[in-house]
Symmetry: C2
Subunit: 421 residues, 2 copies
């Protein structure tokens, strides 16, 4: 990585990671905006705004936006997460000027026309319906709500039918004004890209962008825990467990990642071996740790048949107990090898490199190099892992979400009684 | 691409596509085996065998297989499609010898032990349950059945609960003997890999592999058409339409791919613009053309609310009618640009390059170069596209699958009446 970072006169940060052997580039704009920054009254507005960015600017219709980028074989997309909204293009190197011009245009000059807004509302309501039909999507919304109830971090990013129906032009404009500023946006390019050229393009495309009048900061999240059970006509009982994790700057963040790899990362992980290989209870079972700015959530997902759901929860709990007692050296070595190889593989893709920069630059003001990242993982030892595992076991109120044929499940109190120290 | 291809003494083909700037490699073994080659009595056995390849060999337990590859940060996986089964590893370049040794071992020396088989049966039954909970998975099984009823190509790759319950050790052994031979398997490596070294490794790892006693050839598929409607407690009405497509060697194959790109490929496609952008009826709407050896299936998917489902089908049909009448020059130009850029992007990933080779070598005996592929797309003209579109419109019995709250849908006969010329 030979990352270059510049700050434009208007305060916008532009970073590049050139990969000389490529013919294509990935360019994105990441914004410190997302579900985490929303009050209940405007739930879903970040995601709605992300959709409306494609629906027309002062000089381009929605159709023109789509046709211009696709007529050169480019790919334009966007996503909204809890703490970030990302807009990005994949294109041939000769089309970078068009890509940057488009990104600037949709983020600076969108018009949010009333009829486009109404149609896009319909699209988003359909997206909510699609999410409701996907148990692995839906159950994470339930789990997040169980972990962080009555807080932005616990609410669905898409919003609800009700809140999406309430979004209007004024809300979109006000949201953009409040969160889209030169000090809350980062332009990142990787692949067949030149730093100086990207800076010049951004000076033009983001001319007139100003800093936010007030820096946006989400309120601190407070883990709560509890159960969200939804009986649905699904084949499988979909089960998730959640526990308080740590924020990305917390000293235990890397221990949490390694713990998750050992418990439920790959085929050799404890959960895969015990739940799937030894008992054949699941096709999918895995764990992961989501780190936010100031907090985190450690989660486990598994899908099984109604009859096996109680055994499944019991086996998962048992594996967490065991891992809090003893971590084997070979597990630590293995998870480190997985992290290292994963880093090398992700560096081979232009988009992954851009996303790497976008992960660190906004939060840390600098980019962790691959070597630094590996060193942080190397510093994790068995003592830290057992301590993290013990902390999970001491959770008095785990978050628990279940979806499907779950009428026969043990009570939340019985499950929670396995925890709490 | 600087592809090298060798044939070992035992008849096994080994191909490489070295990418000098990478630190990692992708190595896979592709087998001419899959759902397409199964009789009804052994439905799901190809997929079951693919699972059992991970469950222990003469010298390695299932746990050892998982631990050996993951302890060097490697990633081992596999999939079964209708005409191919693929086993592959992503790893650092220094671990290629281990990767090849493992691939050889699981494909030459698997033991299919009885207790492992029973547990894996449970895992596969869970996988079937998970697929049944995913409308976008399930509906393609319904559509495939509507298009090719009572034929291997119309049956689910995973099998059914009943057929999976019937699989035993003898069936697995017999399936392997019948389909896994030096003349039905292709080893492909891409990335940080040397051809000579891979050949030497394969000579050892696949020593003793013999040619099939009889070349396996699936029976020709016969498109039939008809409806499969399943009322389910989903939020959305999931709708697919299917039409006879063409095989990968058919002269219209590239026209079919371009037609699909124009009708329902990207944001600027006819369906995206008309269904999503102008009417807000869907979040997801797209088309694609699946080419098999001797036939193909052209499909459209969309998810919408129960109230909008009839309008949706009507709009889709209308767009197909329009496209059979007139293709605009700019659409042809745009789809070509998309194909070209897609080729360049896929060449940047080691796995995509290996998969590229595996797509062509088994079926054509050689690998299409990117230039050749682009030339084939460039040769497609508006006349061919209109003719392909007209042929779709002339389908007397389209395949139609609907899933969810679909009680209010127009009858199949009413939908089919829009077609048939």
């Amino acid at each position: 990585m030979a990352i270059e970072i510049s700050k434009l006169k208007n305060g916008l940060t532009v970073a590049t990671d050139p990969m000389g052997h490529l013919e294509t580039a990935a360019i994105g704009v990441w914004v410190a905006a997302g579900g985490r920054y929303e009050t209940e009254a405007v739930l879903g507005v970040s995601h709605f705004l992300e959709h409306m960015a494609f629906k027309g600017t002062i000089s381009r219709s929605a159709l023109q936006i789509a046709e211009e980028i696709e007529s050169v074989g480019g790919y334009l997309s966007a996503y909204t997460s809890r703490e970030q909204t990302g807009y990005f293009v994949r294109c041939l190197k000769e089309d970078i000027p068009l890509a940057v011009d488009l990104l600037g245009d949709i983020l600076m000059n969108s018009t949010f026309e009333a009829d486009e807004l109404e149609r896009e509302r319909g699209v988003i309501l359909q997206e909510i319906g699609q999410c409701a039909d996907n148990p692995e999507d839906l159950i994470y919304d339930l789990l997040q709500e169980a972990a962080f109830p009555n807080q932005p971090l616990g609410r669905p990013i898409l919003g609800t039918n009700e809140t999406v129906n309430g979004v209007d032009q004024a809300m979109l404009r006000s949201h953009m004004k409040r969160f889209y500023g030169s000090d809350s946006m980062w332009v990142v390019g990787a692949g067949a890209i030149d730093h100086g050229a990207l800076v010049t393009l951004c000076e033009k495309a983001f001319d007139g962008l100003t800093a936010l009048s007030e820096a946006a900061k989400p309120e601190p999240a407070l883990y709560h825990g509890g159960a969200r059970i939804e009986q649905r006509d699904f084949e499988q009982a979909h089960i998730t467990l959640g526990f308080p994790g740590v924020g990305v700057e917390h000293e235990d963040f890397y221990a949490a990642q390694v713990y998750s790899e050992i418990l439920g990362g790959g085929m050799s992980s404890r959960l895969f071996q015990e739940v799937r290989e030894k008992r054949g209870l699941c096709y999918s079972v895995y764990s992961f740790h989501s780190g936010y700015t100031d907090t985190g959530l450690f989660s486990i997902y598994a899908g099984t048949s109604a009859d096996d759901a109680n055994e499944l929860v019991s086996v998962i709990t048992g594996e967490m107990e065991r891992l809090a007692t003893k971590v084997e050296d070979k597990e630590l070595t293995r998870s480190l090898a997985q992290v290292k190889a994963g880093v090398l593989m992700s560096l081979e893709s232009a988009y992954s490199r851009a996303e790497w920069i976008a992960r660190y630059l906004p939060r840390f003001g600098r980019v962790l190099t691959p070597d630094e990242l590996v060193k942080r993982f190397e510093s994790v030892d068995a003592v830290q892992l057992k301590s993290f595992g013990t902390r999970l076991m001491e959770t008095r109120a785990p978050a628990f979400a279940a979806l499907g044929p779950v009428a026969g499940l043990d009570s939340y109190d019985a499950i929670a009684a396995r925890f709490g120290g």
